[in-house]
Symmetry: C2
Subunit: 391 residues, 2 copies
């Protein structure tokens, strides 16, 4: 990644200093800012011949969304970045337009690239002096970040570090020796300061098929780090929620448990959304109608636009003497519900827990419930939605 342009000078809005996990940055870079708007150019004109795949790698899908959309989103979510320009080959313009529209990339525009990477970057930079750019009420940026479209894991920390280092150090001889091509060009031909910064390992470039596997696994791992558990208010559901929290926390997950009466579970969804959690576990034998309402609220929020949501419905099977067990939904009804939800990017799985008074048996059931839930959240396997799994 290279940074071309102006340097940070005065304090930034603290809201922009939060990193991807929502924690305040504490490494000293947060108190800096840029003197003007920041924009990004993503050269994405490659044809992917090294992948051994027919689709260029920037358009390969991870969890059913093209790689380029992940890179765009990584920049769009940063408040102080005003515009993203994606440079694509002529034959991919329509595809790129559909991606921008489908995933609601509001800060993003596209332009057509040239025969070389540098020509493409030039075309990307040219957008900023275009009349159309002004028409969108965007200001000519003071800082432009040039970033490979196939490095999706960029975060705010590294961008701030780059800007800060450029401010503190200027250029050095070291960069001249070990810099990338782009850095050379900037230093040779532009009246601008530039510096090479070492990125984190996660900033690696998706080049081969194994990199796509790695990228998808990293995304899945990130998505499976936190979960909201919404329980019914009866004793068994509350107990199960409590135990599940304890067990999932030993697996290094962030778990929040909320209890809600019948009809009120859908009211918890805005909170889940604010937590950026893509996993919900509902515990309790309340009717299918309530679960359908929860699915409707999730689908009508913007939560499932970028990532598939996992929704696990935990049913409690009590000893037969208790009339409660009659309330269990039919497996075929869960399958129908899940089939429809999958079209809305919500992966629904059922989980039936045998609730016994035998504490050893119950404990084994609970451990299984934890193991299976964790695995469903991590794998996001769309082939298994609608199944009623038994623990």
């Amino acid at each position: 990644m290279e940074l071309i342009g102006d340097l940070p000078a005065r304090p930034l809005d603290p809201a922009a200093c939060f990193n991807q996990h929502g924690d305040p940055s504490d490494d000293g870079v947060s108190a800096r800012s840029f003197r003007g708007p920041v924009a990004v150019v993503l050269p994405a004109g490659g044809c992917g011949e090294r992948m051994g795949l027919s689709t260029p790698k920037q358009f390969c899908k991870l969890l059913d969304r093209p790689l380029i959309s992940y890179t765009i989103h990584a920049f769009e979510r940063i408040k102080w970045i005003e515009a993203v320009i994606v440079v694509v080959a002529e034959q991919h313009v329509e595809l790129m337009k559909s991606i921008i529209q489908k995933y609601n990339h509001e800060k993003t525009q596209w332009c057509v690239g040239g025969l070389t990477r540098h020509r493409s970057i030039f075309n990307g930079l040219s957008v900023f002096v275009d009349d159309k750019f002004m028409e969108c009420h965007l200001t000519k940026p003071k800082v432009v970040i040039i970033h490979d479209a196939v490095r999706p894991f960029v975060n705010e920390d590294i961008l701030l570090k780059i800007a800060t280092a450029a401010n503190d150090h200027g250029c050095t001889e070291y960069d001249f020796e070990y810099g990338t091509e782009c850095l050379h060009l900037v230093l040779s031909y532009c009246n601008t300061q530039a510096k090479l910064i070492e990125g984190p390992p996660t900033l690696w470039k998706v080049t081969y098929k194994q990199d796509l596997f790695a990228a998808e696994s990293l995304i899945k791992e990130t998505l499976s780090q936190n979960v909201c558990v919404i329980t019914d208010v009866d004793q068994e559901a509350l107990q199960l929620g409590h135990c599940l929290k304890k067990m999932l926390m030993t697996q290094h997950m962030d778990v929040e448990v909320i209890s809600a009466e019948y009809g009120k579970k859908k009211l918890c969804i805005p909170h889940v959304s604010s937590q950026e959690s893509y996993n919900i576990i509902i515990i309790g034998n309340t009717e299918l109608q309530e679960k359908q309402e929860v699915i409707d609220v999730i689908a009508n929020s913007s939560m499932t636009l970028l990532y598939p949501m996992v929704l696990i419905l935990v049913y409690i099977s009590l000893p037969e003497s208790t009339p409660f067990s009659k309330k269990l939904d039919e497996p075929s009804a869960i399958r129908r519900l899940a089939k429809e939800a999958k079209h809305r990017n919500i992966l629904v799985y059922g989980l039936l827990v045998n609730y016994t008074k035998d504490s050893e048996e119950l404990n084994e059931s609970l451990e299984n419930m934890c193991f299976i839930s964790k695995s469903l959240m991590k794998d996001r396997n769309s082939a298994l939605t609608g199944q009623l799994l038994v623990v």
Copy 2:
């Protein structure tokens, strides 16, 4: 990877010219050979500080087996390689010994490394002049391949290519400029020819956490490329087997269908083993006893030593009027069977197909069966064994 030593000269036993998929090599390297024994030294003394994990990367587990064992096996399976020496740090000797024993690495010995990579390689090479080495009736090798322990995806083709190229080209100035450290040392201090060969992308080094994800996905992909389907002899089972084959083949899988009477299915396992297939689908409502017998035969073969076997039991649910459906095993019996099989590295899943005369409904069921089966074979998810999935 570097090759140190002698050069190929006369024709080799044709059996050694088959690549990993069992096809005859046709790239011209197959008709060459080595004048003496070939051995391998695997420096594996790293402490994995770049991974951000407590376990050094060569001991990290992929599908529950340490990475180093995959690299060892990649060499051991090549007939013309006689010995593998793994060089480990003092504190990992016991772990390494247990790995060699557990995975039955018969060609492999270990030695303790030194403070630097080169000292470790020296220690590895020293084993060949050790009395103990002679005691094992091993001949001092003519060729020694030095290979990073954390590059598990090495195949016979590249090794033969390296040897051939060394024979044809000798050394060049280019290698001096771009070679690795080891190559420099060999060229500077040894009276030996050496050459740098470009490896395939799959030969990449496992360095960061995302590389472990990628490696596991590649292994899973390779394991899910072929399957043996064993069907009952009744009409419905035969039809399902036929349809499944057709569908899985469109997913680029190699599928073999065998039909076998009750009690005879276990006799198919030696054939499955000879095909190096790690996936078996049994179609038919025959009793659990027969399935247990199949599991016993698999467990007593050496098939599950290196990779988990996937065994999918497909049950056929016929309209209620047919007494046949009464033969279905209890879900809890499948769970018990699967729990015991998991300890033997066999992942058992149940799949219940609703067999109807309505051709549209049946087709949807069959597509689902194909989708779920493919996914189970690809994911090898141990959390879901014993579940009876419904399609």
